[in-house]
């Protein structure tokens, strides 16, 4: 099937304006601005079943519909922070298919009445930001951005903003704080961004991949999109496949594709043809799924992955084989979360500190059974008590790792 998001893999030089235009580029944006009411655009996106690709899977059209129309101006912010370990899709989209992404930003902006949109990129994407700046300038010159677009009264400008190395800035309210020139620490929610966002104004925050879906949905209509994927999860998803597979990379597949097809057909199977042991479907924030036959045959959509005691999240599938100790995995993930905890709330700050101390002891073979017990209890005590989801994420691999792979924790510990 032809790609919908990674369309640059089918069409050479799609990241140049003439080629993008020759392939239907900006027709959807023009159609929206010149022929549709903003709420009609939102309705199409709502009917398509599109859900957010940044991790939470929230229905996109519904989010746009939440914008407070008694408070102006409105903003759209594209989340290009892409910092979840195992996620590397947004970067490929922005480099390969930048105009489709920017057109998605533009259509979203029109739908919610925003005249300014920001693309927030992680600081390491310095070159991607410079590249997008250039593409934005080309769009301005061609009349797709700026004042009075297509002869209407609608104006739009898109700006890039670079972060500077902080995973927490991917959390939408921390991201907004960061654009405001503050430390990137999450806000207490509610209120949610559609009522209180950037500069206190109604704001839609969407992931890069989410927005990149929008132009083709508008062009081909909602039913076309809904016919792809599953009833629970419409459309296609870019799966970032990493870890112990022969061919890691991004694979755009319909929701509902099985883990087995992703890992064996697309990923070429496991390095040295070893047995697969565990799957982390949502990056380092994941539960660790036991990769038995049943799991491998499970379709990858939000609802089905949940039946395995996991989460699809941003679909960053990290594959573990039988050479990998889960105690080592957990030590790695906790090292990450300890480093990235923003320190605003005590359970997350202190919890990660203690978990790191314990995972290191256990992994180095100096721990005993009571350390494993204590680690498990620290993680469980954090759950439900943190200000943002990072605190929760940190506990996932720990709790599920100890529960589902107990032998990896008893080998290393002495009684």
């Amino acid at each position: 099937m032809a790609h919908i998001i990674l369309r640059h893999r089918d069409i050479p030089e799609l990241n140049t304006l003439p080629v993008y235009q020759r392939n239907g580029g900006f027709a959807a944006f023009k159609k929206a601005v010149t022929g549709m009411k903003p709420e009609e655009v939102t309705a199409v996106v709502k009917n398509s079943g599109l859900r957010g690709r940044g991790g939470a899977g929230f229905p996109t059209g519904m989010k746009w519909g939440f914008m407070d129309n008694n408070n102006w101006p409105h903003y759209v912010v594209a989340n290009a922070d892409e910092s979840e370990p195992g996620t590397f899709k947004d970067r490929e989209i922005m480099e390969g298919n930048p105009f489709q992404f920017l057109e998605g930003v533009a259509i979203a902006s029109y739908a919610v009445g925003a005249n300014a949109a920001y693309v927030y990129l992680r600081g390491e994407f310095w070159q991607v930001a410079a590249f997008l700046d250039q593409k934005i300038e080309e769009m301005e010159q061609a009349g797709f951005l700026g004042d009075k677009l297509f002869g209407t009264d609608y104006s739009l400008r898109i700006y890039t903003h670079l972060g500077a190395g902080a995973y927490i800035c991917g959390e939408e309210t921390a991201l907004l704080e960061s654009i405001e020139g503050k430390r990137g620490q999450p806000r207490l929610r509610p209120p949610f961004p559609p009522s209180f966002g950037l500069y206190g104004k109604p704001t839609v925050v969407n992931n890069v991949e989410t927005l990149t879906n929008v132009p083709l949905i508008l062009e081909n209509d909602a039913d076309w999109y809904k016919s792809l994927g599953t009833a629970d999860s419409a459309g296609v998803k870019v799966f970032s496949l990493s870890g112990r597979v022969k061919k890691p990379g991004n694979y755009e597949l319909p929701f509902g594709t099985t883990f087995r097809e992703l890992i064996y057909t697309h990923g070429g199977g496991i390095i040295d043809d070893r047995p697969v042991k565990g799957i982390m479907a949502a990056g380092a924030s994941s539960s660790i799924i036991v990769a038995d036959e049943k799991a491998l045959d499970t379709p990858m959509d939000y609802a089905s992955v949940r039946t395995l005691g996991g989460d699809l999240g941003s679909a960053s599938v990290i594959v573990l084989d039988d050479t990998i100790g889960i105690d080592w995995v957990v030590n790695k993930t906790i090292h990450f979360f300890k480093h990235e905890s923003c320190g605003k709330c005590t359970p997350c700050r202190e919890g990660n500190y203690w978990m790191q101390h314990l995972t290191e002891r256990i992994h180095s073979g100096q721990g005993d059974a009571s350390d494993v017990e204590l680690l498990n209890s620290v993680a469980r005590q954090m759950q439900g008590k943190c200000l943002c989801a990072l605190g929760e994420f940190a506990t996932m691999a720990v709790v599920t790792g100890i529960e589902r792979f107990p032998e990896d924790f008893s080998v290393k510990t002495r009684v």
Binding site: T87, A166, A284
Partner: protein, 165 residues
């Protein structure tokens, strides 16, 4: 020379991105500008930025402290930041950084004797399918180097050495 004297056009462009009453939003891009020359941000630059934005120097320093890509200390000309996060480590990143350090005669966090390269271990850089990988952060910005070997990295260091000589 002050930032305002050195980069008048860049500064104007930065301020144009944000609503006029939201000047503070410019702090991050201004800090990148300040870091361009020396690879770290001086006290003087922080004072100047605070002045431009009408905020306290401590507020600027707080931003520098919070974000890992801002530095307030001098390091090697290039920071060589190797990703050792879980997905890369599953593809040999830990062994890679150990061998690289062995070859350079430094430990992680240390700078080579000639002051050219500081080796650091960092978190995921969104290139997990191309491990081992690293980024170099220098006055010319950040560059990705993917599917690396120790030999290729040593060649890269040689090239960097020539470029600053």
């Amino acid at each position: 020379m002050s930032l305002a004297e050195k980069y008048p056009q860049e500064i104007q462009k930065i301020f144009a991105k944000y609503p006029p009453e939201q000047k503070r939003s410019a702090v991050m891009p201004l800090l990148y500008l300040a870091q361009r020359e020396e690879g770290f941000i001086t006290k003087g630059a922080m004072e100047e930025i605070a002045g431009m934005l009408g905020i306290k120097v401590t507020e600027v320093a707080e931003i520098v402290g919070f974000y890992t890509l801002y530095h307030d200390e001098k390091a090697g000309k290039y920071r060589m930041q190797v990703c050792t996060d879980l997905p890369c480590a599953l593809r040999g990143a830990d062994k890679f950084i150990e061998e690289l350090c062995g070859n350079l005669g430094v430990k992680v966090g240390e700078t080579t004797e000639d002051g050219l390269v500081t080796v650091e271990a960092v978190m995921c850089l969104a290139a997990c399918d191309k491990a081992p990988m690293l980024q170099t952060q220098g006055s010319d910005g950040i560059n990705y180097h993917e599917n690396m070997t120790v030999d290729k990295t040593l060649e890269l260091i040689e090239a960097l050495k020539k470029s600053v000589a």
